[in-house]
Symmetry: C2
Subunit: 508 residues, 2 copies
């Protein structure tokens, strides 16, 4: 046996010896260490759901970088003791943000679903990769089962899909597929020498629907914004107009994104109308249902995505309204086989065709990744635990709580809705502090109003009591966008939104 020598400090040596266990054994000490971690996590989960606990203990970047009460982010290169590692874990959670807190309304993804959390712990512990059945037999099959179920919920008899790291990557996939569908030669020959491609999305679509234009060599100038109506929905006639304009310019319209649940307003584009135009001009229809796809689980709200089965591809993120922990995002298409035909590279070392089992489930050649994180298990397990009805309840409850907020806002002086009739779980509104309510000069009033949301947001974060996002939109100055996607939210929490904004903003 060969002895390996290396020179290290005494402290590091001591700690490496002490820490040797976690390398490669499952000793009693490993168990104790992981038990301690478990206790830290349980304490965090308990605080997450406790309204008496702050959502965050805000510090500025320079404060955290300088180190607070012994919590240092630095990596010195020295090995720390396991005791210190446990302290690091505690502090990492302490100075973070509790996204599962019932008063965190800041993001489309929120909540802390215990079932999918357990599933994600298991996924980490299984520590495998999605590319082949060989090393992920159960997970690759689960993906197939779940994808087939999602396709059938959309309304497709057949179809395929994959889980990829987030809606943006999935929207990128969709454009790759559509380009391959219309110009398969591009894969080998490149874009040069082919007519210019043009893609369309509404002004309110998520920016990741446009970015593929920059990435794929199509050019952002060929990503055309379509006007929206007063509810934030794509205006079909403007789409047709712009398709015709680009055809007249000798370009090839090939791709339209309809959004099911826009990021800010929560609007649902009218799919049947848009699909009609797409069919007329032979254009691929992608539905970005990253945020709104969950309504397919609800009998009450499914009408919002009527016609989704007419799409060529769909992005649907169960880590948003379905509560699955991050990340869990699916790309689905009714064109079976297209993922492989546009992405396959036939790597011999990974996808041997002389394997002794059926290699249909070696999914690696469908993706633009090689290794791929196991994201399906979280959804599979949550689905088994909750059933269709559990997801339905989740969606219905979050939308109902949002409607309740709408009713509150209508009744409360100083608050005004940006969109008078929200259809989903986004509620956008302004708060007018007393000092600006009666200003008669509209320009000055809006200039002042524009500063209100950022100021109140900063107070929210410093107080740690509540978090709600804000942004401007087109000509509309900064407003709050409240999201309910966490089933831990209750009616009292909605009441709290109003009272807390008043408390924090009254004196502005």
């Amino acid at each position: 046996i060969i002895i390996i020598k290396f020179s290290i400090s005494e402290k590091t040596f001591k700690n490496i010896i002490k820490n040797l266990l976690p390398y490669s054994k499952c000793s009693e000490k490993t168990r104790l260490f992981l038990m301690e971690i478990f206790e830290i996590l349980m304490k965090h989960i308990s605080k997450t759901f406790d309204r008496k606990c702050k959502i965050l203990d805000f510090h500025h970047p320079h404060q955290l970088l300088d180190g607070i009460e012994g919590f240092s982010l630095e990596i010195t290169g020295e090995a720390e003791s396991l005791e210190q590692i446990l302290v690091d874990c505690r502090d990492t959670l302490k100075y973070g943000v509790k996204t599962g807190h019932p008063r965190f309304f800041n993001q489309l993804s929120s909540g802390l679903d215990i079932i999918s959390l357990a599933a994600d712990w298991l996924t980490s512990t299984a520590n495998t990769n999605m590319f082949t059945y060989e090393i992920a037999p159960v997970f690759t099959l689960m993906e197939d089962v779940v994808i087939r179920r999602m396709c059938s919920i959309i309304g497709w008899e057949d179809g395929e899909g994959i889980f990829s790291p987030g809606g943006s990557i999935n929207n990128l996939y969709a454009v790759i597929m559509a380009r391959h569908y219309v110009m398969p030669e591009v894969k080998y020959d490149g874009m040069r020498g082919f007519p210019e491609l043009v893609m369309f999305q509404s002004k309110h679509a998520h920016y990741s629907n446009k970015r593929p234009g920059a990435v794929l060599g199509i050019g952002l100038k060929n990503c055309i914004d379509i006007e929206v109506d007063d509810k934030g929905r794509m205006i079909a006639s403007d789409l047709e107009l712009k398709i015709l304009q680009s055809k007249l310019a000798g370009k090839v319209p090939f791709y339209v994104t309809a959004t099911a649940g826009t990021t800010v307003i929560g609007a649902f584009d009218k799919i049947p109308e848009i699909s009609g135009i797409c069919k007329k001009y032979g254009v691929w229809l992608h539905v970005d249902a990253a945020w709104g796809g969950a309504v397919m689980m609800s009998q009450k709200h499914r009408h919002l995505v009527t016609g989704i089965e007419l799409a060529d591809s769909v992005t649907w993120n169960p880590h948003k309204m379905m509560g699955v922990v991050l990340q869990c995002s699916a790309l689905l298409t009714r064109h079976k086989g297209i993922l492989e035909s546009c992405n396959e590279m036939n790597a011999d070392y990974l996808f041997q065709q002389d394997k002794h089992y059926d290699v249909t489930y070696d999914t690696g050649d469908k993706t633009i990744q090689c290794g791929r994180h196991v994201d399906v298990f979280k959804l599979w397990l949550a689905w088994r635990a909750k059933g269709d009805a559990g997801f339905e309840k989740h969606v219905d409850r979050c939308i109902e709580l949002s409607r309740y907020l709408v009713r509150k806002i209508r009744k409360t002086r100083g608050f005004e809705l940006v969109n008078p009739e929200p259809e989903y779980a986004n509620v956008c509104f302004w708060y007018f502090p007393p000092c600006i309510r009666n200003l008669s000069d509209e320009t000055i009033k809006h200039e002042k109003l524009n500063k209100v949301a950022p100021l109140i947001k900063s107070r929210m974060m410093e107080n740690g009591t509540i978090m709600i996002g804000y942004q401007p939109l087109g000509s509309k100055v900064n407003f709050f966008r409240n999201i309910v996607s966490n089933p831990a939210v209750d009616y009292d929490d909605i009441d709290f939104i109003i009272t807390e904004i008043e408390r924090l903003g009254r004196d502005i």
Copy 2:
């Protein structure tokens, strides 16, 4: 308070009531459920490191899909009891592959590092997203700290980077950056109207270095393979020749991938020579060190990547030779600011410039993703626990064990090395069963040899005792590629490779 009604089966109703807890509470029942999960995971960890346990209990896809001993992958839409959910978790692990088993030599990523596993559990529990400091203050800063350290280890005074979902995506990023560097107009105008771009990689480079050619609209025909020498390293003179040829054809050579640790052979391209050519012709040099980057942590082996600081960008996967659990992959570049300039889309709703804190750490606009999984914490915590020296020991030990295998193979009748002097932790070899050793007809011998590795591999999987990958390479018929990247491997396990292959293959 509004009562929500929905119609569900009695079984589902009962289970939803029972399962309500995991939605949104941290009750004693939640704790008990997660304790049970913890026990299941501890049992799996213990089995993972136990050589008496099988690596896998192999079943064909149709068997798993049909259901084995009550384990069903189906999603019926009904809610199952929490008891059933626990059984599902147990079975998911039971029919999976223990990638941390000391006799799993199948993949570049292996092992089950307890520190980074704990970190990944914490990451799931924190359930947040990397796009803004606002919702991930600690993690965004940690990423900055870790990226700066990795840049300085490469040898760059300055630089930037991000963690993205795997080496393939990072190699894609690198090409996007390089294209932006040479033709920034493409982002807005698209590829049409610009001269044809050409990129180069060795024949042995990972296929993800070529795929960006298909994705970005460059075309696979413009991804030129460079010849390799007998050690699997790119031949610099062939690179220069092919650069000149493409220039003569009126094309623009803009990108070269040098590989540090090729996937099959484990070869390291000679970076200084390649960099010289890149500089001469003004071409971006990317080093794909996904697999080999870890040698930078070792004084003994760092020489393999001499000159890596000359690169414009580097892909480096700590989830491979540094043992961090999946996924943890970094893209690094010395061109500070380029990630943002090529990828920014300035989404108002996310990256408000009127926030009350320093928005430098809002990293979302650097990426082609929007939400991004927290991958840095696993590495940060492992680095704190092990120090530089811990990683050094890891790398040195895995390479030493591989050298030991090489010595064994040289001494053992029936085994033959594919590459006589492996430099890294890949050991490629053929096993000649007795019946073909003395065949005089080389064609027949190789035809038969080509079938040996797949057959032994199938026996390995059915026995569950060991897993080693195999593949052909160029004119070389199927051979085994043994990887040691798991520090749980010991000398006895290397001895076992030889005896087990002989046991399984002797009778062929």
